[in-house]
């Protein structure tokens, strides 16, 4: 899959890297004992440490360390048994200490990788540069007062994992696939809930363009793009801007930009005189973070089956396509639903029902898989009813719709509404005879070679039996009666 911007001076290719800030799932903050729950009243989840009071000191939360290592293992990354916290110094209203405790030259996690499943069935590996632990800042609220910004420090000090990709992506689609895959891995690992609406996963996008074969050109960083769709849009728009600037003889300056989806543009966030100089240095309030192999292995032993492994197993065990398997494993709840429903059944068939029918149904009702009115067992039963010829495939769709509304077992619905398939040969023959008798010319046409008309006869008989005739038997009987 390629994505090329056709410029006046030739073809331009995109170079994309993503920095994802993923909020660590933990009870307490990275360096204080205050809670991390989203949506609490302003400044009620703040300790004096989070608010940067004089004399306050950080102490590290063990679970945040474990979560970072867990994520590192999930990304098949190098785990650094010794890492160092550094201060990133800058002033901002929601940064109470005047610095963010982060990691700089010695992060807890080194290089790793993520495999992207692309819609055309191919896959592509994107490198992870690093993952480091850092504190989140607070929140500034600008719309509460005409001349004031309001500061809420609830989020201040919450643990984040900054996950930095290599500049390995070349299309907006790949960036989208990367984010979806990363989110899936984090959610499988239960190290981040991946909720972009609540800001527990935020994305900075680095974009540059170049002509084929050129080294990298200057990149711009688009800050805080908060949905997969916006990330893809922002990349397209920013890349176009670069091409336009270059082709009109200009130059791109390395800077931080903001994506405005309503205007469909990116714009510069900070002017030059506000240039930052973060003055990173090792935080003297914290000692080096160290752990041993046993610690890492203990975490490795509790790793769940991750999307890539699950996908491979689905393909192997159920014989489904890689793409279908990729779809099923993207949310671990979906994968779990599938496995439950497929227990003792034809997985490919169940997967089909899930992907084509259940997803559509849930989508229409705005429900997630965990909210599905149809339990995995019920979906499985429906498949069983089709397979044992209790109902026809066509009627099964109707049964499904009723299940979606009423949540009842399919067998009950079939029983209640008399939807059982007719497999009594005599009854089907009688119905066929009646239709043939009523349409002698068409019957003759079939005999004269218009065999396609058999389908018409099938439809008529189906209609006469309210769709309950067994399609296979029906076809066989009709053929025998019309063609001998």
């Amino acid at each position: 899959m390629t994505y090329i911007i056709k410029g006046e001076t030739g073809d331009w290719e995109l170079v994309i890297g993503l920095e994802v800030h993923a909020q660590v799932i933990s009870n307490a903050k990275l360096f204080s004992g205050a809670a991390t729950v989203f949506g609490a009243e302003a400044n009620t989840q703040v300790s004096f440490i989070d608010a940067g009071f004089p004399g306050m000191l950080p102490t590290i939360n063990s679970v945040c360390v474990e979560q970072a290592v867990r994520t590192g293992l999930g990304l098949k990354a190098k785990i650094n048994k010794r890492s160092v916290f550094a201060r990133k110094n800058y002033f901002y209203a929601d940064l109470p200490q005047g610095y963010q405790i982060s990691q700089f030259d010695l992060p807890i996690i080194g290089e790793g990788e993520i495999i992207l499943d692309l819609p055309d069935g191919t896959s592509r590996t994107v490198g992870i540069e690093r993952l480091h632990l850092e504190q989140d800042a607070g929140k500034s609220v600008h719309d509460q007062h005409p001349s004031k910004s309001f500061i809420d420090l609830n989020r201040s000090g919450v643990a984040l994992m900054e996950i930095v990709s290599k500049p390995d992506m070349r299309t907006p689609e790949e960036a989208g696939a990367y984010l979806r895959k990363l989110r899936a891995i984090l959610r499988y690992l239960e190290t981040c809930d991946g909720n972009m609406d609540e800001g527990s996963m935020r994305c900075d996008v680095n974009v540059s363009v170049r002509k084929a074969g050129e080294p990298y050109r200057t990149r711009c960083e688009i800050k805080n793009v908060n949905s997969v769709r916006f990330v893809m849009q922002a990349i397209e728009i920013e890349a176009k801007r670069h091409v336009e600037v270059y082709e009109s003889g200009g130059d791109i300056v390395q800077e931080t930009r903001l994506f405005d989806p309503s205007r469909g543009e990116t714009r510069s966030m900070r002017s030059k005189e506000h240039a930052h100089d973060y003055r990173y240095f090792p935080d003297p309030d914290l000692l080096p973070l160290e752990f041993d192999d046993a610690f890492v292995e203990a975490i490795r032993a509790t790793l769940p089956e991750l999307p890539d492994e699950k996908k491979a197993r689905f393909v192997e065990t159920y014989g489904m396509t890689g793409y279908d398997a990729g779809v099923l494993v993207m949310e671990k709840e979906t994968a779990a639903y599938f496995e439950e429903a497929a227990k003792g059944r034809d997985g490919k068939q169940v997967a089909n029902w899930l992907i084509t029918t259940l997803f559509g149904g849930l989508n229409k009702k705005g429900l997630s898989i965990t909210e599905s009115p149809i339990s995995p067992a019920q979906l499985g039963q429906l498949v069983d009813l089709v397979n044992d010829n209790t109902i026809s495939g066509r009627l099964a769709k109707d049964v499904f719709e009723i299940m979606l509304e009423e949540g009842k077992d399919p067998a009950v619905i079939v029983e209640e509404r008399g939807m059982k398939q007719v497999t009594d040969t005599g009854a089907i023959e009688a119905a066929c005879d009646a239709v043939i008798a009523a349409n002698p010319e068409k019957a003759q046409d079939v005999r004269d070679g218009k065999e396609k008309l058999i389908a018409w006869f099938i439809g008529q008989v189906m209609k006469a039996t309210q769709g309950k005739a067994n399609p296979g038997m029906l076809q066989e009987i009709l053929k025998k009666k019309l063609l001998g």
């Binding site: 009870n27 703040v46 102490t59 679970v63 004031k148």
Partner: protein, 95 residues
């Protein structure tokens, strides 16, 4: 090593300390004097010496992931020069 006015202005901005234009020059002189004094460190052979950021060779102790703090909004805001509706307030920030 001598600092010019612009450098001092830049450092002052990074430090968020307002420095009057007419004190940039004397300040630059003073700071340059101190920087010159630092030059003596060049005499010390530090090849292969690991930078020392802590005197202890201990490593970080970890705390348990339990909620032990927070829920003290009044105390958090009690010393604030300005607060409203449970928030700290500052002059409006426009980005």
């Amino acid at each position: 090593m001598s600092l010019d006015r612009d450098t001092v202005r830049k450092i002052a901005f990074l430090s968020r300390i307002e420095v009057a234009d007419d004190t940039l020059e004397p300040l630059a002189g003073q700071l340059s004097g101190i920087l010159d004094w630092f030059e003596q460190l060049k005499e010390v052979d530090t090849d292969g010496v690991q930078p020392m950021s802590s005197v202890t060779d201990a490593v970080l102790r970890w705390r348990d992931d339990v909620i032990t703090d927070g829920g003290i909004r009044e105390k958090i805001l009690a010393n604030a020069p300005e607060a409203m509706d449970g928030f700290f307030t500052v002059p409006k920030v426009v980005e």
